[in-house]
């Protein structure tokens, strides 16, 4: 009888990379649902089109690199990138915009660096930032939430994406924009005068954020990632907004609750910051990494020039990740300060 020679361990847990990725995809569902509910079919079309283009680009890159298509497509990492980018893009974005973003994410940020696991930057955020810098007009045009304007139906949404010239959409400033451009109004007055604000943050946005929070908590429960990076990010964002709240004066940067439930906060905290490939690795490293992103998000939102800050903050923190890793190596067994007591 022929016996094989293999190295230990011989047993293996049941996790696989594909499973991890599929669970992340599942966890985006509540957020996508809320986005669709408040802003219409735009996000769904973004996601679907991004996935289609993304699989095509991924296959092309794998083919050119001479890798097995089925083996690498099975890990679903390209789908995750495309879904996350599709969610981040404004609804009713034209098809070419999405395609350019996906190309930047999949081809440039991921495959050029060597594919899954080798990318120093979060691919979805690279795609987003490339678009934001190249096409600021299209990228800052967010649709108004349901209740403030008519939400396009499915046909109109498809038209917006694939025949953008014939689509006459309505856009409206997001609550984060409004707050940044606030000139001399007390928070209370700004809230009263602006229809976009809801109970805690922008109409729609607060629910979108809560939905992403729910998806994130489910992933946490499934032990797909640890709490360290998201909690550190949310904590430092809360701390920054509390420090600069200024009692709701006209120079206030907005309340902590407003920041937690605005823009891409929860989406970023649980779906972007937790990307393991481009983040710091150790527990302490992830705390530092998350906290850094929280601070940067606040700085860019309040004093920067962009509608939202998660993408830039994450990319800057990606730069810092190897540096953070260097200084946050965990204490290894038997290397105690007191020479033995643990």
């Amino acid at each position: 009888m022929a016996l094989m020679r293999v190295s230990s361990p011989h047993a293996h847990g049941s996790y696989s990379t594909g499973m991890v990725m599929r669970q992340v995809l599942l966890a985006t569902l509540p957020g996508v649902f809320m986005l669709t509910l408040f802003f219409g079919f735009g996000t769904l079309i973004n996601v679907a089109w991004a996935c289609l283009v993304g699989i095509a680009f991924e296959s092309l890159a794998l083919f050119l690199r001479g890798r097995s298509l089925t083996f690498y497509l099975k890990d679903c990492s390209a789908l995750v990138t495309c879904v996350l980018l599709g969610i981040a893009l404004p609804p009713y974005a034209p098809w070419w915009l999405i395609a350019v973003g996906v190309a930047a994410a999949i081809l440039m940020a991921k495959q050029l660096y060597g594919g899954l696991g080798y990318n120093p930057f979060n691919p979805a955020m690279v795609g987003y930032v490339v678009l934001l810098i190249s096409f600021p007009v299209q990228m800052t045009a967010w649709a108004p939430p349901r209740g403030l304007a008519d939400v396009p139906n499915l046909w109109e949404a498809l038209q917006a994406c694939f025949l953008p010239a014939q689509f006459d959409g309505v856009t409206m400033a997001t609550p984060l924009d409004i707050l940044r451009q606030n000139q001399g109004l007390l928070m209370e007055d700004l809230w009263a005068q602006t229809p976009q604000f809801g109970r805690w943050a922008g109409i729609g946005w607060e629910w979108v954020n809560l939905a992403f929070l729910a998806g994130g908590l489910w992933l946490l429960y499934r032990r797909i990632f640890t709490w360290h990076a998201p909690v550190a990010m949310l904590a430092s964002l809360t701390l920054m907004s509390a420090l600069f709240y200024a009692g709701g004066s006209s120079s206030s940067g907005g309340s902590p609750l407003f920041h937690l439930l605005s823009g891409a906060t929860m989406f970023g905290a649980f779906f972007i910051v937790t990307d393991p490939v481009s983040s710091a690795v150790s527990v302490r490293g992830r705390l530092v990494f998350g906290a850094l992103i929280g601070v940067l998000v606040y700085l860019i939102r309040v004093w920067g020039n962009y509608p939202d800050a998660v993408a830039f903050a994450v990319l800057i923190a990606n730069f810092a990740a190897p540096f953070i890793d260097h200084y946050t190596q965990p204490r290894v067994y038997g290397h105690g300060k007191s020479g033995g007591t643990g």
Partner: protein, 574 residues
């Protein structure tokens, strides 16, 4: 209740222990042939003391220890030594190694045995000698000579004796069944260890997934100073370092031994072997081995003679060869594959695992590492396996050492959790081997460098000496020329003849002739020259080695000069 501590990481693989616990320990009997590797322990292989064709009795010494860290080997049954040659042995390398082969006569005749009536009357050294003579090496799996481990460093005080009954690897139940069935033997063995080590406390640690063993041990230890400590089941809590942390909250310093913090660990099986050796004079001849896996009909524990071919044991358990594609010695986490069923059971064989392909499927192709960090969460040494993997791929040895690769205990928890199915432990093993190889190379080249430099210094010295000699000759020649010139253009030939005549005359007179240049003078010149050269080299800041070489030559010349002078005075005096 003692407070137990947790250690970082760890995993909960499927235990699969119940299969082999359905029946009590069964005696495997005497196979037709026993194959006894000379190296069943860590350290120097044993040296055979029997010849081919010799009849041996059960318990008779057949190989003596090959060094300090070594143990002897005894015949597990009576029979004839039929060969001493290389045979396949259970070893990760898969290479055959020297073995003593005994054809069993099935009579099982014992050699006379001499036990100790009361070990309490014996000195520790005496007992340690008996343990060594009993051929006992750690039964938990590592196989370190027990007497060496117990002796420890001279002057070391043992605070805590830890008896390891954890058996955290899935499938293995050898220690479990031993604890269930022979708890009193274990306690007797521990008492002997206590007498040898005189520890302040004795802790017998085991996981809470062995209720029968716990009950048996609690009953057997009632009234003794041995404390049975149970703790939650988690792999690898049976690792020596992990168990120490669980029971004492202390960590063994990196690169150190438990003895450094006053702790000695012994396996329960070792305790029983010690008891047999001391109380009955019975050397280590057999052990408990679990035979399990879906490819055997009746998984169970055997009391098996050392040297029994695995095939014999597997057949006793009802092996289905067609179902078995991999044979593992040890557990599924740290065991290694054995490629032939001819390999024998050795002192460290706690388990033979014969899984089906469905049970332990062959590893799927590895996917890229996504640095998910599950491995870092699982690592009991608090390492960053994903970073180690990255550096191992790039052969960045410095980074690997900086990230404490050598603190990896190769427990396999990281590979077990890895969602990308990367054989991480394999990378670490290979990297460790590479680094050790590099260190050896480095030591070698360092030695070569030192040799080369020493040679350079020696050559410089010799050159200096030659130079000094040349200078002396030259000076002497000049002086002669000067003398000749002073002699008013005397015919040099005539002068030579004169000298020769004078010499002859002097010889006739029995008087030594003062040479034209005395040896002292020549040496003085040499010395002056050497001193000048030394001063030059110091002034021009030449290499320290050259300076020291020059100094040495000056010293030597001074010595020679002193000798020559004293010789001259002596000869002058006579």
């Amino acid at each position: 209740m003692r407070r137990v501590h947790d250690f970082h990481g760890g995993i909960h693989p499927a235990e699969n222990k119940h299969q082999s616990l359905q029946q009590p320990i069964r005696n495997a009997g005497i196979p037709p042939q026993l194959i006894l590797p000379l190296s069943q322990h860590i350290g120097a292989p044993a040296r055979p003391v029997v010849a081919v064709g010799e009849q041996v009795l059960k318990g008779q010494l057949i190989a003596e220890p090959g060094g300090h860290v070594s143990v002897p080997l005894h015949a597990p049954t009576s029979g004839m030594v039929s060969a001493i040659e290389d045979r396949p042995i259970p070893h990760p390398s898969g290479f055959p190694a020297p073995c003593i082969v005994i054809d069993c006569d099935q009579e099982d005749r014992w050699a006379p045995l001499q036990g100790v009536a009361n070990y309490r009357d014996c000195e520790a050294t005496e007992l340690l000698e008996l343990i060594r003579a009993g051929g006992i090496a750690g039964m938990g799996g590592a196989g370190f000579p027990t007497a060496v481990k117990l002796a420890g460093k001279p002057g070391r005080a043992v605070k805590t004796l830890i008896i390891n009954g954890t058996e955290c690897e899935p499938y293995i139940t050898a220690d479990d069944s031993l604890m269930r069935e022979r708890a009193t033997d274990i306690v007797e063995g521990i008492a002997i260890l206590q007498h040898i080590l005189q520890p302040q406390e004795v802790l017998l640690g085991l996981e809470d997934n062995k209720p029968e063993a716990i009950a048996a041990l609690r009953a057997a230890t009632a009234g003794s100073t041995i404390e049975v400590v149970t703790f939650p089941t988690k792999y690898p809590s049976g690792g020596e370092k992990q168990l120490i942390e669980i029971l004492t909250g202390q960590q063994v310093p990196s690169g150190g031994l438990p003895g450094d913090i006053g702790i000695v660990c012994q396996n329960v099986g070792t305790a029983v072997a010690v008891r047999d050796a001391i109380c009955h004079g019975r050397p280590l001849l057999s052990r408990i081995t679990t035979v399990t896996g879906d490819a055997v009909e009746a998984p169970q524990n055997f009391e098996v003679l050392l040297g029994t071919p695995m095939q014999y044991l597997l057949e006793l358990a009802g092996l289905h060869p067609e179902r078995c594609k991999r044979l593992v010695m040890g557990g599924p986490m740290m065991g290694f594959t054995v490629t032939t069923v001819q390999a024998p059971i050795v002192k460290t064989t706690n388990c033979i695992l014969a899984p089906t392909a469905a049970e332990l499927p062959p590893p799927p192709p590895a996917q890229p590492c996504i640095r998910c960090g599950l491995c870092a969460e699982a690592c009991p040494a608090s390492l960053l396996p994903q970073q180690l993997f990255w550096f191992a791929q790039g052969k960045e040895f410095e980074k690997l050492e900086q990230h404490k690769l050598f603190d990896c205990i190769e427990c396999g928890a990281c590979s077990w959790v890895c969602p990308s199915h990367i054989p991480l432990v394999q990378y670490y093993r290979a990297s460790k081997a590479d680094i050790l190889e590099q260190r050896r190379e480095h030591a070698k080249s360092e030695q070569a460098r030192q040799r080369f430099e020493a040679r350079q210094v020696r050559l410089a010295q010799e050159e200096e000496e030659r130079e000094a000699k040349r200078a002396a000759r030259k000076a002497a020649a000049e002086k002669r020329a000067e003398l000749a010139a002073q002699g008013d253009a005397e015919d040099p030939i005539q002068a030579a003849i004169e000298r020769a005549k004078a010499k002859k005359a002097a010889q006739q007179d029995g008087q030594p002739v003062a040479a034209s240049v005395s040896p002292e003078a020549a040496l003085r010149q040499k010395l002056a020259k050497a001193e000048q050269r030394l001063a030059q080299s110091v002034a021009s800041g030449e290499d320290a080695k050259i300076v020291s070489a020059l100094e040495a030559s000056v010293e030597r010349l001074k010595g020679k000069l002193a000798e020559a002078e004293s010789a001259a005075t002596e000869s002058g005096a006579t």
